[in-house]
């Protein structure tokens, strides 16, 4: 049992968690941020042009600035991954694989995680041809053949980027049409080395020591399969909250998002949530940051009234 009892434990170190920490510390709450890495998804953004006050910045730079600001107000940061929360008298116990933390209130602000296709070979070949980050891993496939799974804007942007590096880019879209902005769809459809399989499902990713091919089938007829020779598979089918561990603790919506009210309260008094892992509409850095501030002020109010 940990001896230290924090006023507030913030789970997650993206814009929402860091903003919450800044606000909580300015109200002099004894605050800890527990996160695997500071910055969250924001850090993966190369160019940010819609965060007021910064005409153009990178996600990494913005994350560093927010981290620096939280540090300035003496928010404690612990690098760890929380895997369970349980209520105890006067607060909550948060557990990771090797540690326990105790806090009187909690803000859940751990954002989203990339969505998986869920087919054989996906886990086996991750890092050996299967990638979830086209910007990161695209250059390893110079002049090779790659396949992008997905049909939304992120898949189309990935295909556009990869078409400049790779010899051939296939797109596997499970729907009959792309679901992106008309500008991006037009741009990708005009690329001579990009070929799309619309209305096709991914069945399996095959390989030996690394990816060698992908098997797809017609969405309307599972028996109609095609095997495509490919060196890389880029999975770009969006993001989802990783909230399995919270089932039965706080209420989640069917999409797995933590249900909050306008005061960032979850179904459990003392547990708040903010940012992309909550059911707040629009997953944006500025919104996540604002929600983090709201959650911290609400946690302060909760602790003051206790």
């Amino acid at each position: 049992m940990p001896e230290k009892i924090y006023d507030l434990a913030i789970v997650g170190g993206g814009p929402s968690g860091l903003t919450a920490a800044i606000y909580a510390r300015r109200r002099e709450l004894d605050t800890v941020i527990i996160a695997g890495a500071v910055g969250g998804q924001m850090s993966l953004n190369n160019e940010i042009e819609n965060y007021p006050g910064f005409e153009m910045t990178s996600g990494y730079e913005l994350a560093e600035k927010m981290k620096h600001q939280a540090d300035k107000f003496d928010a404690q940061r612990i690098e760890d991954e929380i895997t369970s929360i349980s209520p105890i008298d006067g607060g909550f116990i948060l557990k990771s694989n090797n540690h326990e933390y105790q806090a009187k209130s909690v803000i859940l602000s751990f954002g989203l995680h990339h969505r998986e296709v869920g087919v054989p070979g996906e886990h086996e070949f991750t890092g050996r041809g299967v990638s979830y980050c086209a910007i990161c891993d695209g250059p390893f496939f110079k002049n090779k053949t790659v396949t992008v799974i997905g049909g939304g804007n992120s898949a189309l942007e990935a295909a556009n980027y990869l078409s400049e590096i790779c010899a051939k880019v296939y797109i596997i879209n499970k729907y009959p049409q792309f679901n992106g902005t008309p500008f991006v769809i037009k741009k990708v459809s005009e690329l001579s080395n990009v070929q799309a399989f619309q209305n096709y499902l991914t069945k399996e990713i095959k390989g030996d020591t690394k990816v060698t091919s992908i098997i797809i089938n017609d969405a309307n007829d599972a028996s109609k399969t095609t095997e495509i020779t490919t060196d890389g598979v880029f999975i770009e089918i969006g993001y989802q909250p990783k909230t399995d561990w919270l089932k039965g603790i706080v209420d989640l919506n069917p999409g797995g998002e933590i249900i909050i009210n306008e005061k960032n309260e979850t179904s459990v008094p003392g547990i708040f949530a903010s940012g992309d892992c909550s059911n707040v509409p629009f997953k944006q850095i500025i919104i996540a940051a604002g929600e983090g501030a709201k959650a911290a002020l609400q946690a302060y109010k909760y602790l003051s009234n206790k």
């Binding site: 690098e79 050996r128 980050c133 910007i135 891993d137 250059p139 690394k210």
Partner: protein, 105 residues
Amino acid sequence: MSEVIFNDANFETEIMGDKPVLVDFFAPWCGPCKMQGPIIEELAKAIGDKAKVGKMNVDDNPLTAQKFNVMSVPTIIIFKNGNPAKTFNGLQSKENLTEEINKLI
């Protein structure tokens, strides 16, 4: 110990020996690598002289990355006696890496 900067020229000699050697294969254009960087620096300091910990820029040093089939960044490989003992893909926590190094000491 402070972190080691590995390159194609020093790699073979640096990974020899019975102490575990952790190599963070990164690229300058990769967001998660930027998040991994400070974690590796902290790990190098915290682990002391029990293990060697450092980074390798795959853009400047393609030969080693190719030899060990690095197709994604960050990839972290822990070597023991010159051979890969454990490979991780994607961002890793200090805790997780410390645990794996301790298993190999």
